[in-house]
Every structure is written in C-alpha cells, then in structure tokens.
Amino acid sequence: MTDAAVAGTRRGGAELGVVRRERWALLRRSPAFLIGLGLVGLWVAGAVLGSWAAPKDPQALDPIHKHQHPSLAHWFGTDVLGRDVFSRVIVGSRSILLIAVGATVIGTILGTMLGLVSGYFKGIVDEVIMRLVDALLAMPVIVVALLAIAALDHPSNVVVTLIIGFVFTPIIARTVRASVLGEAELDYVAAAKLRTERAPHILFVELLPNILPPVIVEFTVRLGYAIFAVATLSFLGVGASPDSPDWGSQVATHYSFINQGIWWSSLFPAAAIATLAVGVNLLADGLVEAFER
C-alpha cells in the first residue's frame, strides 16, 4: 500500500509464471481442494468406467432377492426389483455428471458471451441484456426448468442439459459482466481501439483471457448447483427414464420404503448426490481461495 504509485511496477513483482506456480502450491496445500478433488475424482472414475467398474449388472432383475440388506454380496443392498444398489450408484454417476457438466458448459459459454457484450458495449445493449437477465433471475430455477420440460413431450437428456444451461446463463452473464466492466476501463483496451481493432477482437482476444479466472471459479460453483438441479429434476421424474440407474430417480422410486426400514436403496443414491455436490463445492472453495487473492 505504501508505494502504491510504484507498487504496480515494483521490480520482481508478481510474475505470471510465479503466480501460476503459487496458485498450484496453494491448491496443493488446500485441504478443501484436495478432498473435493478426491470425491469428484471418485465419481468421475465411476462415470468413465461405468458398468465395467460395477461388480454386478446394474440392470439385472432378481425379484426373489429384493430389498436385501447391505451385505458382502451386495454392499449397498438390493432395490425393489432386486438390482444391486452399489452397481447402480456407480453406473448412475455417468448421466448426472454428463448432464451437469454439459449444462454448466453451455451456461458458461452463453453467459460469458452475454456478459462480455453487455459489459463492453454498455448503454442500451447493456440495459436490454441486463433487464432480461434480471427477469430470468427473478424466477426459481427449478420451476423454470420444470415448466420448460413440461412444455416438451419427451424430454431427452440433451433437452434437460440445454434447459439447465439456459437457466444458468443469466447468473454467469452477470458475474462476467461485472468483471468486464472493470477490465474494459484498463488502458490496454483503449490501446487496442487506437490500433483500429474491431469489437470481436477486443472482446475475445483482449478481454476474455483476462477474465478467465473468475469464469473458472463461477463454472465450478455453478457445477455444484447443476448437480442439484439434475438430481432434483430426475427425482421429480423428468429427464431420465424411470428404469435408468439415475440417482435422482432411484431416490424417487425407493424413498417410500424408508418407513418399512428399507433405507439403503434410497439413502445410498442420495449420499452419492451429496458427496458429488460437496466435492464440487470444495473444489470451488479451493479455486476461489487460489484465484481471488
């Protein structure tokens, strides 16, 4: 603070390479980030390996052995149709991860574009985009998604992904816009104008690389919410087909048995949702700490 007039230009100041290395050092020492990485890594492995990692066939019906307690043969017990809950939980990670990641990617890309345009051009463009964003933000995410899905007859996973992506767009647009507003005031943007650069170049070549850190953080935070959104929608019975080993629909199918003491067939998928969401949020916390210092 003391040499502020010269601090920015202080010798040996924050070198970019050093900053990156320090970020990694910080992340490696951050318990939140490491635990998050472990949890998410576990589920990503499950999603990638799929039925190959599952000890049993997740779809094999065995009505005779339905509602079995967790045991050595069935670690998480069996469900109402005698299917192995453990195998279904592992295989179920794929759809939730695909939809959540896909939706977040779509939301981040669209939101970043809108935020860049809004924050850079300002004026009437900004007004229009931001009022639309405000209007969308005023509606609850799940209700919007449900309405949109209800309007369509047979919502596939792709449709669910797109809808969640659209619902997240305004939130990300707003974050990006805030970063762009500050960034666009910097002299290098004026310097770009002073060499006759056009707006797309300024937006994507000059500004975008500089606002990536907050975008990455926002992506991770949104991913956590996307997981909940996907799980909620499949619990409510939209998106995934009822017999697919989807976590949300597993909970939906089995939660009524809890009263009869059959807790495992709904609790384990629910715990899976929780661990994935917690893992992603821990990752996000670690990133926030490393990037926003």
């Binding site: 603070m1 003391t2 230009t9 910097l186 006759t196 500089n210």
Partner: protein
C-alpha cells in the same frame, strides 16, 4: 581525510555524551520476509537514530525497504516478516520485548503513522467527525469533549471549515483534505514520534506543498520527532534535518540533509541526484544520467558491496569485501571504500540507440503547425446536468515540438488528450486538424493512417499492456493494424522496434508481468511508435517509475523525437520533468488554458498567478529559495465554476491588485502579452513582473 571506523551497530546520531535518549533508534536491524519457506532479507544492519523533535528522512527507490523500516518501528510487520537480528528502541525501550498491552499504549499515544493513501486510511462508512473523535474517545474524553477537540484538531491542520468537514464521509473529501484529516488524527494525541510513509505521493504539487506546510507547522508547535519516508528527494530536502539513503536494505549514506544532497559521497546517492531533471537544463542542453542495472532481487546476499554491480567506480575490493558504514571526511556516514571519489562518478548519459543522432537545427522560420485545435470544447451530460470540462481550447503543435501540459487534477488535461486521440468526441464546432485536415471526431471516423498518426503512452504500463499477451504480440499486432504489414513482416518490424527501445530479445516472448516498470514502459513506447506516429500523447509516462528509470525513459523519448521528428503532448504533474522536456508549456485550470508560452518564459516568469503558485509549490533538491506563493482552498468543482476569472477564489495575486471586482465578475481572455506568450489574467505583464519580483526578493 581521517576515516573513523566504527562498529556498524553504533548509533551514528547519539555521538555526544549528553545526547538525549533518541525517540527512535534502530540497532543493527535485520528484517526478513519468509517467502515460500525461505527467509529473504529486506533490511540488513540498519542503524539509525532520531533525536526528540528531529525530522529524519529515509529515501530510496521502490523495493529498498523503506516501508519495512516504518513497519518495523511500529512493530507492525506483515505476518511473514520478522526481525532476525538487532533491536528497535523507542525512547530507550526495546519495542520487540514489549507486551502487547504496552505496545498498544505506545501506539495509542506515543507513535503515530500516516500512510500514502489517505482515502484507504479512513473508514468509508463513518463520518469524519466520528472518526476523529474516536481518537479522543480512546483517550478517555466524553462524547462532547471529543467532538470539540476534533474540531480543534482539524483546525490545526488548516482545514477551513472543520464543522462542515466533520459531517462529511471520506469519499466526499479530496485527497489533500483526506490526508490532512489523517494527519490530524495522527497528531491528535501529541505523539512523540510521527512516521510519515510517502504522505504526499499521489497528491497534486500544490496540495503536496500545503500538506507539507501543515506537517512543518505541527512539528514546530509540538516538537514531534518525525520519520519521513519518501522517494522524492526534493520533499526530503524541504522537510528533514537528516537523511538516510537506503539501497537494497542497506543504509548507504547518512547525514545532514543539505550536505548529503549537495555533496553526496556514495556513488548511489550521486547517481540518484544526477537522474533528476534540474531547473535551467532542458533536453537540448543536457542528457539525464541513468543508473545502469537493476536492484538485486529480494533476499540476494552478495559478498561484496551491495551496490558494486551497478557502481561506475567499482574496484576489486568492492567485489570481495562489504564496506562498513564510516564517517567520510569527518562529515557524514558513507558505506563506501572510496567516498572521496564519488563525486567523480563517470557520467552515464544513457545507453540509448540514438545518442549520436544530430540535433536538428532549431531555426526561426518555424515549421507549419502539425496539429491545430480551434475552439475545442467538451461537455459531459445534457441540459441541467451539463458539465463543461473543456472550453474554447486553441492550440497548435509544430512537428518535432514538445508541448507540456500542466495543471492540477481535474483541470481537463486527460480529457484534452482523449479528444486528440479520438477516444472521446469533442463538442460540435470543435476543430482538431492534422496537417490542416480536420480529423474525425472519434476513432471510427478516422482512417487507419490518421489513427496511427496520433498515439499515446499511458501513465500506468500495468494497465496499458494486456497481461495475457507476449511483448512480441503486443508490438507486432500494432504494426499489423497500423503499418498495414503482414504478420511475418510485422514480427520482424516489432523486433527492430523493441531493439531500438532496448528491450532485450530474450524478453520478446515474455508477458508484461515478467518485466520491470521501465521495461514495460519501453514496450508501450514501442507500440506507440509502431505506426510511425506524428504526435504522441505522453500521459504522465514516468510518474509510476523510480527516478533512475524515469531518466532512461525521458532520454529515450528525447532520442525518438530527434530521430523520428515526432511531436509530443507531454502531460505531467511533475513540473521538473515537464520543464526538462518541453519546448512550450500550456497551463490548464478548470478546463481553460491559463497560460501558454515558451517553457522558459512560463517557468521563470513573469507568469500567470496560477503558474506562479504551481512553480513555487515544487520542492527543489537543490534547496534553492522557492518563492512561497500558495493556492488556498480546494479546486472548485467543474460543475459550478466560479464567476469571472475561474481562479479568483484561490488567486494569490488578486488581493491588493486593485482589480478585484473585475476578477470576480469578468472572465479575462487569453491574450498574447509578448510574442508567443499568452496569459489569461486581468493583470498586465508589467504588473505581474512587479508583484513577483518583490516576493522573490523577500524569500531570498
């Protein structure tokens, strides 16, 4: 020539047997910061002593450890910092050994500190009155008493209407006013030691002068010892009894301020003083010296003298042994083996490429104007909310000429630059012409050639260079867009440009963050010159740089002007720099040009009362008697400029001029009072000459 060697831990000031206990004393202080697990030393064997009531200056370039010294004195080092050896003594008591409660008592009423950024030092959610009163509440006064004492305290720092200021929030204060509030809080408890860390950096020269006056006055009334930290040797000269020169964490020279600055005995001090542009020596008369090399990296531990790698007088012994700090010629302390040779330090007139380019003869048949501004104005907002930040600016700039643009912040300098560049559109009716052709109002209306012809070097190179792009990309992209070259050709041209700016080829693939401030500014200059510009706006291009780096950049700009025959519009609040570089100077106040003329005429006077005040607020390293004309009060708001002459509310020459009523009601025109010298004042040149002669005589 007796050299009196003493142990380094011996305090230099406490020499007499009856010397009083020093207010602050560092005994062989070593401070290190732990960075990535390794202790990096920032202060090495620093010993100094400040007597009660004495003002001690600590100078040095950024990264030398000045602020660390201040924090060590307050026992307020950052968490990763620690004192690894030595002691800090406050009035004979070891600060390091004090309990937290004792330390709290000390900070409460014995030691105060003022930082550089006053707005940051005030709580934005509290009214000024409540904040100042808090100091007295902690002292144990009741609410009413605290408030009335606060009012007195604010009055003591020359705040005209304390009651009104107390009702305001920090963001409603100007920087100078806020700093005065901070100083009022710092001295409220009559501290025995006041630490000022760059208290006026970032303030306008006129405001700086006022703040320094306040500190000086407080010192005489209260007898407070002062540790004054600054990079500005002129400020140190005007404020301090003794000075210590800090280089890479070592005190390299210490003694009485006047002596050190007029007869330095350490090559670093000698070099530092030579970097500063001096009065009466313009760019055509003298080249500025620079200090070659850079500060050693944090925590580097050399075996020999820390300054040896950059010293022009280095010998074998300097590389092998570390010189102790010794008394040189019985006068002051110097950490050098050969202090008597220091004045003979070889001159280093820069290492720039064009040092041998001949100076184009300056002839009287002046070249035609390159840029002409006629009736240029700028109004922000509409109707009732209209704010005229520039009005009726008429100017011209010749090819190869430098026009200096000075004035306090808010005078419209930067807005004028933006209009020239086409970043902001001027009001209708304004005419900005290049070579007699009218330029488009905004960039979109200008041809690529016209855009390339008017370029800028920004103040802050950190903000001016995209931190995600490489140096090579930044410059070559400008060549592509402005020079109309293919990418391959542009890269070749960029490398040539960068070489001319003395940016090492190794650094072309680097990103800006890997460069020092001076190098970044060189890259920014290379970019500005990519399209063969005719006019380059230099917006405070060296204000973020240390003086030695500033000198190199100024030399580079001068060389480029000679080889490229480019014109500069040079904006700066540093009048010394403007004087060095400018052929002509325009002085702006509240969006108007108050004075315009040849640099010498504007500086030496007779000049406009406003210019006079600006010039006399400049603290000089040479300690010449400066005329003491002060502008009183705050700059009026541009939203509501004063009637008549806009300066009349603050004019140092209005009172007793006999034309007061004219000043208050009629705005004077900008008229040519002598060839090429224009003034906007009701007083005649003769009248001003008379008035200014008497004051100059008084102050001698």
């Amino acid at each position: 020539m007796t050299r009196n060697e003493r142990p380094a831990t011996d305090s230099p000031a406490a020499s007499g047997p009856a010397a009083p206990i020093p207010a602050l004393r560092f005994d062989g202080l070593h401070v290190a910061y732990k960075v990535r697990g390794i202790d990096r030393r920032v202060l090495s064997d620093v010993s100094l002593s400040i007597a009660p009531g004495e003002a001690y200056g600590l100078v040095g370039e950024s990264g030398c450890g000045k602020s660390t010294a201040a924090f060590a004195a307050m026992r307020y080092l950052p968490r990763n910092g620690s004192i690894t050896a030595g002691r800090v003594m406050f009035e004979g008591a070891n600060v390091g050994a004090m309990s937290n409660a004792a330390m709290r008592e000390l900070r409460k009423n014995a030691i105060s500190m003022v930082y550089q950024n006053p707005i940051g030092a005030l709580n934005p959610t509290m009214r000024i009155g409540a904040q100042v009163a808090e100091v007295f509440r902690i002292e144990g006064f009741d609410r009413a008493e605290s408030l009335s004492r606060s009012e007195q305290a604010l009055g003591a720092v020359q705040i005209a209407d304390p009651g009104q200021v107390m009702r305001r929030y920090p963001h409603q204060l100007s920087g100078g006013m806020a700093q005065r509030v901070v100083i009022a809080m710092a001295v409220a408890t009559n501290p025995r030691l006041l630490i000022l860390d760059e208290p006026t950096t970032g303030l306008d020269a006129t405001v700086e002068a006022e703040v320094l006056d306040v500190v000086r006055a407080l010192r005489t009334t209260m007898g407070t010892a002062v540790l004054f930290i600054s990079h500005n040797l002129g400020v140190i000269r005007s404020m301090c009894d003794r000075v210590g020169v800090l280089y890479a964490g070592h005190i390299v020279e210490e003694g009485e301020t006047g002596r050190i600055l007029s007869d330095p005995r350490h090559p670093y001090t000698v070099g530092l003083l030579r970097c500063i542009p001096r009065a009466g020596r313009g760019k055509d008369a003298v080249r500025l010296d620079t200090i070659p090399g850079t500060l050693p990296p944090l925590g580097a531990d050399a075996t020999g003298c820390v300054y040896a790698p950059r010293c022009g007088l280095v010998r074998d012994r300097c590389q092998r042994e570390r010189p102790p700090i010794v008394e040189s010629a019985g006068r002051h302390l110097t950490r050098c083996f050969f202090p008597e040779e220091a004045p003979a330090l070889p001159r280093t007139p820069g290492d720039e490429f064009a040092a041998n380019v001949s100076i184009p003869p300056i002839t009287d048949d002046r070249p035609a104007a390159l840029v002409t501004l006629v009736g240029v104005g700028k109004t922000f907002g509409h109707d009732d909310l209209a704010v005229r930040v520039l009005r009726d600016i008429n100017l011209h700039l010749r090819a190869g000429e430098t026009l200096g643009l000075v004035g306090e912040s808010g005078s419209g300098k930067t807005t004028l630059a933006k209009l020239l560049l086409g970043l902001v559109a001027p009001d209708a009716g304004s005419r900005i012409a290049l070579d007699g052709r009218q330029l488009g109002a905004v960039l979109g209306d200008r041809s690529a050639a016209d855009v390339g012809a008017v370029q800028i070097v920004f103040q802050n190179p950190d903000s001016a260079l995209n931190r995600r792009h490489t140096v090579r990309h930044i410059v070559s992209r400008a060549v592509v867009k402005l020079g109309g070259k293919s990418k391959g050709e542009a890269i070749v041209r960029a490398e040539i440009l960068l070489a001319e700016m003395r940016v090492d080829a190794r650094l072309h693939a680097a990103k800006p963050a890997q460069l020092s401030g001076g190098l970044k500014q060189r890259v920014a200059i290379a970019r500005a010159f990519a399209g063969s510009p005719r006019l380059v706006v230099c917006d405070e291009p060296t204000s973020a740089l240390d003086v030695s780096v500033q000198a190199a950049i100024l030399n580079l700009l001068v060389d480029l002007q000679r080889s490229e025959h480019v014109s500069y519009l040079f904006i700066s609040h540093d009048l010394g720099v403007v004087r060095y570089l400018s052929d002509r100077i325009a002085v702006m106040y509240l969006g108007r040009i108050m004075e315009l003329g040849p640099a010498d005429a504007v500086f030496s006077g007779p000049n406009h009362p406003y210019t006079e005040a600006l010039v006399s607020s400049l603290p000089s390293v040479d300690g010449e008697p400066t005329r003491r004309v002060r502008l009183v009060g705050e700059v009026p708001s541009v939203t509501d400029p004063p009637s008549g002459c806009v300066l009349h509310t603050r004019c140092p020459r209005r009172a007793g001029s006999g034309v007061e009523s004219l000043c208050d009601t009629v705005e004077p025109d900008l008229v040519e009072v002598e060839p090429g010298h224009l003034l906007r004042c009701h007083l005649s040149l003769e009248r001003l000459r008379e008035m200014q002669a008497t004051v100059a005589a008084v102050s001698v």
